[in-house]
């Protein structure tokens, strides 16, 4: 039977132009294994072909940056010869198909990205977006994804300390699972993926290779071999126990100096890891595929090159170190095999039982990877909604009750109590605050960590939405007293082939870039996930920002709960009470329209620097940024966290009551202080707007001129929604 190779290439997702380029590079027709490799390497996931032109515009440098995008994860300096290694990555499609395993292997993958670089993972976060709570499958997704994330992270013994979870019908057909890992390493103890030296052993460690995760969804066996057993395209299956052993074994081996280069086998498995190592090192690699530890018999070169079996690593060792390395992996009861050597040919040559199965030039394949400057149309601006265009509520407390019981604002305790947040005994602030704070082991320093994005803003105005995501991340780190260092961007969008979606992407990148530059908050790693759409219906543009900051002393941080009775509540920052694209508009008025709140990056910077200094001086111990739901929700959060009440007085000159209480103006914080006068005076000198708006005390939340509500009642509404929903029909 003769194969129609062009058709096989098309089945693999290579378009005509791309296939012609393959022919040009090779000067001959590729075989099926080679088509599989090209398709994997040139896939959107591995090549960033639609996003690269835009990603290049992002700021990625700064004095704190040790390693920007391009390695497995980003690296920033945290002083004392230590670095923080971090990245966020999506596992959206697999999690939709099989929520438990999809989410679990998402966590496994991002953990490997971090420990591949020589860092011990010290914290996980995750950002989850589900469809409407009314959608019949949403409960199934929530319970599976959460169990999968917990199942993997808990077994690894890495605390899951924070994240976010929201719901919107735009995610009904495409849920998002974005997982972030933060690791700690010595600055001079980092490992990279570039191979060095000719004739050095290429070593495979970890789990055996099976047929799981082979990108075979579009390939029926009949397309190229009617007799062969049907491919078994499945979502990868995670084994966190093996990964825990792999982590310990890799760190143990790294300490010996035996490793020249190391790369985890993630998407496109052995293909991408081997090409990456060879390409970065300007070398070739000769692989003997029959040496790869296999889970089942009858595996082909195609299977071995493209399997996405989990918990595997590829390494180049210093010559003569094989036995030392083998002993460590045997101690940890993991597979270890020398499966090849580095060469000076610049080619990837893979043999199986002596037969050449693949022979490809490495650089042309990498350099000639297609890049598209896809057409895009800017998202039309929406009109700003004035407070006067929105009905004024009679009873703001009733509005608060409604808001705290909505899916987006309700407590996510049901989720995060399924994650071990206290293992490693360094979690100073776990889930539920503005940013998590994890102590740097053995020091008094801490890392502040957050995950942020407001997709409804990004949909309404991608540029402002992109800015806002970065600004909110910066604000959340600031609100605990941390100095923001850098971000990782996990960009989730629909199809880049649709100019409107590409317009959303371009806009978000412009916004992220602008905020990142203005706030000295560079992007050091990231991931792009396109094609999050079903039957032409795309998700809301969701550029999740994972962020890291540093605090000098974990004993001197702020948290959201009020600390004492009789303290003054001060609002830092101000604004006209922007209700466009707010939760108030969506949940109370049933409208999702209007321009989102604009972000003034200069004001953001000034206000944040002021708050951070006030926390450092000890003047402020309770602090919360104002975000979703506006001022009253922020104050309710502070009350609920402490079970301490508050009384608010609407200041003279405030915007209309609904705009003041529920507007989502940016760049704002609520702080509680003993000496309000002094704080307000310092703010005035710093050019920061600060207004005393109330006092802490009692067990009720009271707004002057309106009724009160007990903090306990707020808590029961806030805590009640998710457990009740999950217990539902």
């Amino acid at each position: 039977m003769t194969l129609d190779l062009a058709a096989v290439a098309a089945d693999h997702g290579l378009n005509d132009t791309e296939y012609q380029r393959v022919l040009q590079i090779l000067g001959r027709e590729p075989n099926v294994v080679e088509i599989g490799v090209f398709a994997a390497m040139w896939s959107e996931h591995c090549s960033y072909k639609s996003s690269k032109v835009w990603l290049k515009t992002l700021p990625t440098t700064g004095p704190q940056v040790v390693c920007g995008p391009g390695e497995n994860a980003g690296v920033v300096d945290i002083g004392d010869g230590q670095v923080c290694v971090f990245k966020m990555e999506s596992h959206n499609h697999p999690s939709y198909i099989e929520p438990y395993q999809g989410a679990a292997t998402g966590v496994g993958g991002i953990l490997r990205d971090v420990f591949t670089m020589g860092a011990r993972p010290i914290a996980n976060l995750n950002a989850l977006r589900f469809g409407s709570p009314k959608h019949p499958k949403t409960r199934h997704f929530v319970s599976g994804v959460v169990a999968g994330i917990g199942g993997y992270g808990n077994c690894m013994g890495v605390p899951t300390v924070g994240g976010e979870c929201t719901f919107h019908p735009a995610y009904d057909g495409n849920i998002l699972v974005n997982a972030m890992t933060v690791g700690l390493a010595k600055r001079d103890g980092l490992f990279f993926s570039a191979a060095k030296g000719v004739g050095n052993p290429v070593v495979y460690v970890g789990s055996k290779t099976g047929r799981d995760g082979i990108h075979g969804a579009t390939m029926s066996s009949a397309s190229f071999d009617a007799d062969s057993e049907a491919k078994r395209p499945t979502v990868q299956v995670g084994d966190p126990f093996t990964e825990k052993l792999l982590l310990e074994a890799c760190l143990e081996l790294m300490a010996t100096g035996a490793i020249i280069a190391i790369q985890d086998m993630g998407a496109a498995g052995l293909t991408s890891s081997s090409f990456e190592m060879a390409s970065k090192g300007g070398l070739g690699i000769a692989l003997e595929l029959d040496k790869v530890p296999m889970r089942e018999t009858g595996m082909t070169a195609y299977d071995l090159m493209l399997s996405e079996s989990q918990e595997r690593m590829l390494m180049v060792l210093n010559p003569g170190q094989e036995e030392r390395a083998r002993a460590i992996f045997e101690k940890w009861e993991l597979d270890f095999a020398v499966i090849g050597r580095t060469t000076d040919t610049g080619r990837m040559v893979a043999t199986m039982n002596g037969k050449v199965e693949l022979d490809l030039p490495i650089d042309p394949l990498a350099e000639a990877a297609p890049q598209y400057n896809r057409p895009w149309t800017p998202t039309p601006k929406r009109p700003t909604i004035a407070p006067g265009d929105v009905t004024v509520p009679n009873d703001p407390i009733a509005v608060l009750r409604t808001l705290l019981g909505t899916a987006d604002l309700a407590s996510k305790r049901w989720i995060w109590e399924q994650y071990d947040s206290s293992v490693m005994a360094d979690t100073v602030v776990g889930p539920g605050g503005d940013a998590a704070v994890v102590r740097v082991h053995g020091t008094k320093k801490g890392l502040a960590l957050s995950s942020d994005c407001t997709p409804r803003y990004c949909y309404a105005d991608p540029v402002e939405g992109g800015k806002q995501a970065v600004a909110e991340a910066w604000r959340n780190l600031t609100a605990v007293g941390a100095k923001p260092l850098a971000i990782t961007d996990n960009l989730n969008f629909g199809s880049p082939e649709n100019p409107e979606i590409m317009g959303q992407f371009a806009g978000c990148i412009q916004g992220i870039g602008a905020a990142s530059r203005a706030l000295d908050f560079p992007v050091v790693s990231g991931n792009v996930s396109f094609y999050n759409q079903t039957e032409g219906r795309a998700i809301l543009p969701t550029p999740t920002i994972g962020s890291v900051g540093v605090v000098a002393d974990v004993a001197r941080i702020a948290s959201i709960g009020f600390k004492a009775e009789g303290e003054a509540i001060v609002l830092i920052g101000d604004g006209p009470g922007h209700l466009g694209s707010s939760l108030y508009l969506r949940e109370i008025e049933g409208r999702e329209d209007g321009a989102p709140p604009p972000v003034d990056l200069a004001v953001e910077h000034t206000n944040g620097d002021f708050v951070r200094a006030e926390i450092a001086s000890g003047a402020v111990t309770s602090c919360h940024d104002v975000s979703d739901g506006g001022l009253l929700v922020a104050i309710a959060d502070m009350a609920m966290a402490s079970r301490l009440g508050a009384t608010l007085d609407v200041p003279a000159g405030a915007p209309p009551i609904h705009a003041w209480l529920f507007g989502e103006d940016q760049g704002r914080y609520v702080v509680a202080v003993r000496d309000a006068e002094a704080l307000v005076a310092r703010a005035r000198r710093a050019g920061v707007k600060a207004a005393v708006i109330g006092r802490t005390g009692g067990r009720e939340l009271t707004i002057g001129g309106f009724r009160s509500i007990s903090v306990e009642e707020l808590r029961s509404i806030h805590e009640g929604w998710l457990p009740a929903y999950m217990a539902g029909p």
Binding site: N154, T242, D420, S422, V423, M424, V428, V554, A555
Partner: protein, 231 residues
């Protein structure tokens, strides 16, 4: 006090135990790999939390049959203090050092949260530094902590004052709303007959540093052990 922490493949609270011990005892414990068959002279053996052998088969079942456990059992029989925390408690029940079993949490989900524990007895080195009836706060983090034992075992545990900790409300009341996993008798930790082996699901080692938000009440368990050794 000479202490050791046993390390199984998949243990992940071994470091936390070692950090707490180092800080409180003043010197680092010996870390004992599960394949070791000889132990140094010891006053305390900690069987730490985690997912030994990935919790495959049944949590604690495989670790209980690891080479090092034969030696741990011998030492326990010789009177050395043995502390099993979380997965360590599961291992000790599987190894027969403690009676009963830890089943899946009643809600069938992993639960991580601070819990309130009432100290039920101070007649053991592990709790001598607490007051009887004192309520302490330790975190739990487990999917299988639902203590179960046959009625005659329960009767003996109660009759012999071998329940060390129970889950309670913050003011020390037994209340189903404050029993996080459905444990029989709200049992969080138990002793062997000789009172030198304690197994408990909550984590005293994570509650030993006051900075971590649990009040630092876990440290007293290790201080009690030091005191008992010195006595």
């Amino acid at each position: 006090m000479r202490a050791a922490v046993i390390v199984f493949p998949g243990s992940n609270c071994d470091r936390d135990a070692a950090v707490a011990l180092t800080k409180i005892v003043g010197r680092a414990p010996a870390m004992i790999w599960h394949r070791d068959t000889e132990l140094p002279k010891l006053d305390l053996i900690v069987v730490p939390g985690g997912f030994s052998y990935g919790d495959y088969l049944r949590s604690g079942a495989m670790a209980a049959r690891s080479p090092v456990m034969r030696e741990v059992i011998k030492r326990a029989e010789a009177g050395v203090a043995v502390l099993g925390i979380c997965n360590g408690f599961q291992i000790l029940t599987e190894a027969g050092l403690l009676p009963g079993a830890l089943m899946r949490n009643a809600a069938l989900k992993f639960i991580c949260r601070p819990v309130h524990l009432r100290v039920e007895t101070t007649a053991t080195a592990f709790t001598r530094r607490y007051k009887k009836g004192q309520v302490v706060t330790f975190p739990i983090a487990h999917g299988e902590g639902n203590y179960f034992a046959a009625p005659e075992v329960m009767k003996r545990l109660e009759g012999e004052d071998r329940v060390a900790f129970r889950y309670t409300s913050p003011d020390g009341r037994i209340d189903p709303a404050h029993n996080p996993n459905g444990s029989l008798g709200a049992i969080a930790g138990i002793l062997n007959e000789r009172r030198n082996v304690l197994g408990l699901m909550p984590h005293p080692e994570r509650a030993s540093d006051p900075l971590l938000g649990f009040g630092g009440t876990g440290a007293a368990m290790f201080e009690g052990l030091i005191e008992a050794v010195a006595a």
